[in-house]
Subunit: 139 residues, 3 copies
């Protein structure tokens, strides 16, 4: 890291082109920000973004994979994540999301404290049940 | 702060166990993130999380206390907070929340500029009227 | 930046007084946080906050101007922005917001990667269609 750190875009090969002039993730110095990710499958040229499936489980696991791909593109891992914001569309999904969340992070072999988290219930585009973004600070 | 700062969990004695694999707060280097806090009373072993009361005032003041406990656990204070995100469930609560907010922060003896803030209206689990999270940068 | 950085409030002359004890923006060291901005016109003494107009376009462009004023007050520019959070009230506004967003940022002459972004759909006070906040890291 130089005195004057540059901000670089993080665009994993698995990701669809953003629908607007924003980056899936950016890193500047030791700060890495992941944009709101949803359950889109890895991009296939010529095919529009396709959600992993209709269930909360399918979408949550794919969303985790999408966040992780951006972290890794920026040289970070789940251990560097300070905060995750989880947006659900339905309060009744909270318990199931937590089950999926706990199993997933139990399997990731975290070496440091798990990230802080906020979960709120909002509107999302039709068919999407979950969106997650993340702030990471590299060691 | 060493070259390779560790991320540590901030878990005040007053807090209930998080319902999933996340931390109430984390600190890494000079960055401290407080997870979404609600108006739960200090934890009592064997009792499920209990909200401070049904009113916005009771819940807001308890939520502030919960955020503050995490800040202090991490060696920070309200003066270090850069951003607070306030989630309300009802637009009609904005004016009352601001009154409570102003009185509370008027009494905290802030030495520096008050934090930035965003307030939006979302869904929260039944019985909860407010949720707040915070990002702090230590001096 | 000294060892012990102070947190300073960023209050552009164009801005109305915040309705509560928070800052429109704060900077501490190389971190700058912009509070949630809406489409209010530049403040006129004695006049209550007035929205730029009823359309998404008017409000979005004014909101961008308001965010930019705070960035500049803190010595930053759009190039320093890591994350923008866009709150809309209506999923049907997404495509139009993206058009306005792309045109606006196409004209800003960004030298670095565009910021990450999350867009969610929430409630806002009556008459407001968009709110945006931003986190910047200075070079």
């Amino acid at each position: 890291m130089t005195d004057k750190a540059a901000k670089t875009a993080l665009t994993p090969a698995t990701h669809t082109t953003p629908p607007a002039k924003f980056s899936h993730g950016v890193r500047k110095g030791n700060i890495l920000q992941v944009a709101g990710q949803v359950g889109f499958l890895p991009a296939v040229e010529g095919r529009p973004p396709t959600v992993a499936g209709p269930t909360l489980r399918e979408q949550t696991l794919q969303t985790f994979a999408n966040v992780k791909a951006i972290l890794e593109e920026g040289g970070a891992s789940w251990d560097d994540v300070m905060m995750m914001r989880v947006y659900l569309t339905d309060v009744d999904h909270f318990a199931e999301m937590n089950e999926i969340y706990n199993t997933y992070f139990g399997e990731q072999g975290l070496k440091e404290a798990p990230a802080a988290r906020t979960t709120v219930y909002v509107g999302l585009p039709k068919g999407l049940l979950i969106e997650i973004d993340a702030l990471a600070v590299l060691g």
